[in-house]
Structures are given as C-alpha cells and as structure tokens.
Symmetry: C2
Subunit: 182 residues, 2 copies
Amino acid sequence: MSKQLPEIKSVSVIAKTRIFEVQSVDLRFSNGEERTYERLTPQRRSSVMVVPIYQVQLILVKEYAVGPERYELTFPKGIVDSGEDPALSANRELQEEIGFGAKTIEPLRSLYSGPSHMYGLMHLFVAQDLYPSQLEGDEPEPLDIIYYPLNKIDELLADPNFAETRNLSALFLLREYLNAKN
Amino acid sequence: MSKQLPEIKSVSVIAKTRIFEVQSVDLRFSNGEERTYERLTPQRRSSVMVVPIYQVQLILVKEYAVGPERYELTFPKGIVDSGEDPALSANRELQEEIGFGAKTIEPLRSLYSGPSHMYGLMHLFVAQDLYPSQLEGDEPEPLDIIYYPLNKIDELLADPNFAETRNLSALFLLREYLNAKN
C-alpha cells in the first residue's frame, strides 16, 4: 500500500543559467506538514549510456568531468536529441566517441541517478557487432579509448576508484547480462 | 599515461539559491581548445547511505523524492554534519529514519553519482547487530519501513523499477560483500 503523494501547491523557477534551472516547490504532505523544497527542473530529454563489447573486450573512455575536476573512466554517453530513438542516440554516441557503429544494440535498463532533488532518465544499452564508423561530435578533445578484458570485470567492479554510481550500475548490469547468456 | 588536466582559468558563482549554487568554469584543454562549462559547486560536505541488515532481512525505506515526484524505495541516508565521522552519521541516520542503532558499521565503498557537472561523495556502509533506538530527524513525515528478505536480493536487482543508480550500486555491492563472507 502506497502513501498518498504530497500535494504540489506551486512550482516556480527561481534560478536559470545556460544549463541549470532551479525550481522551488511548495508541498503539503498527507499528514498536513508543509515544506518548500528546491529541485533542478526535471529533464525533458533523456540520456543514453552504452557499454560497447568488441571481441573479448569492453570499450571505455576517459573523459574530463568538471565536477570532480579529473579525467574519469566511463562509458560512451550523451543526450537523446529531440525526437530521436534512444537506441539510435546510443549508436550515434558510439560513432562520435569511439569511432565504432554497432549492428546490435540491446537495452539493459533505464536508470536515473543522483539526489532526490533532481531527475533525468538514462537508457543503458549494450552494443555488439561493432564496425569502424566515425561521426563528428562536440567534444573539446578526442577521448582516450580504453580496451578492458571482459574476464577482468570483477577486478574493475572491486576497484575503489571505479566509484561513480552510473558506471558501477552499468558494469554490474552488464555482468548480469553476460552471466545470463552463458 | 594520463592526459594533462585542463587548466582552470577562472571559476565564478553565477546563481545561488537556498540549496543550489551554480558555477561557471573557464577551461583550456591541453590541445588549446577553450570551453566554458557550468557545474553545481562541488559539495563541501559528504553524505552517507546505510544498508541495514536485521536478522535475515534488509531494511529499506520509502521516501518522497521531489525530482521524480514519487515515493522511492531506498536506504537510509543523509548528510554528514560538520566535523562528524561518517560512520557516526550513518548510525545517526539509522536511528532517525528506522529507529535502530547498529553495534557494527562497516564501510562498503565511497561512491559519487550523477552527471559530470556535479560532485559529492557518498560513503556507503553496511549496518548490523541492530538494536532499537529512535532519534528525532527532520523528515516531514515518518518513513515507511520495508523489510526485504536477503535471499531475494537477486529479484530486487532485476526489478526494472529499482533503477536509481545509488540504490542499485549499494545493493550490488552488498551482494558482493555477502558473497565474500559466505
């Protein structure tokens, strides 16, 4: 049995920059308590993350992240263009970021991440049957491409530096997928 | 071999609300490309998430998340108070959110989550040897408390609705921890 959702009494935009928009949300909980919460405006466009498999290896990329101010080992990812099918976005990002297209793209899970005051859906795919194909992206510099053996996934999962929850969730879900296939 | 980090030429606060602060960051990449990125100001205070085990069950909570506007199945969590040891924060949050203290608190991993334009560290713990103890928290309403059998973790991991990457990472890491113990 689910609790009755709080009533949203009003929502207003209180700050807006080029990429962030903050809303103030007045809520009344079912017990009568009232609170004003802030949140990032829920994203209208979803994103994709793709785990590419090439022969017996994973392909990862190293990309600069301005939050932690460092290069991070992650998977190709990006925003779904307006009206674009997420599987097509996944294939486009692959071609932009690692120079491969995929003949086989399968959905693994639709995930979201981060604190409860933000929301954006990220569609996770596994890409296989890769062929060379390069598309121009908007990255400021070419990404370093890392090949990682599939039979060492457990080591990467146990690495305390591999600590970003989208990447970690993606790799755990990939292991489940591979185990189910074998 | 790691690429040289981009030079951060300037950082300025461009928006500020009660809980959000947005910075604009001027960067020069090592290839000479210049970009202006935005980010949420990296968090000075870290957070904790705790997976409590009571006999042969996990304890989860249902908490309202204003981003997706729904109640979510998650684990007790909260912010580390200034100067507080994260393991103590974990034990405090347990007492505030589920009415149990823990005699045994072990670190599982320090995680972070979300897009590359934000950063906050979250310390993940497993809590065992629970005893009843209630502390007053700042929740607008009591949280629903859900007991979930340890031997059904695989089912929860496979549930497409269990899709928030911090929760998913926490549960996968707990399964690794339990498998290593047995």
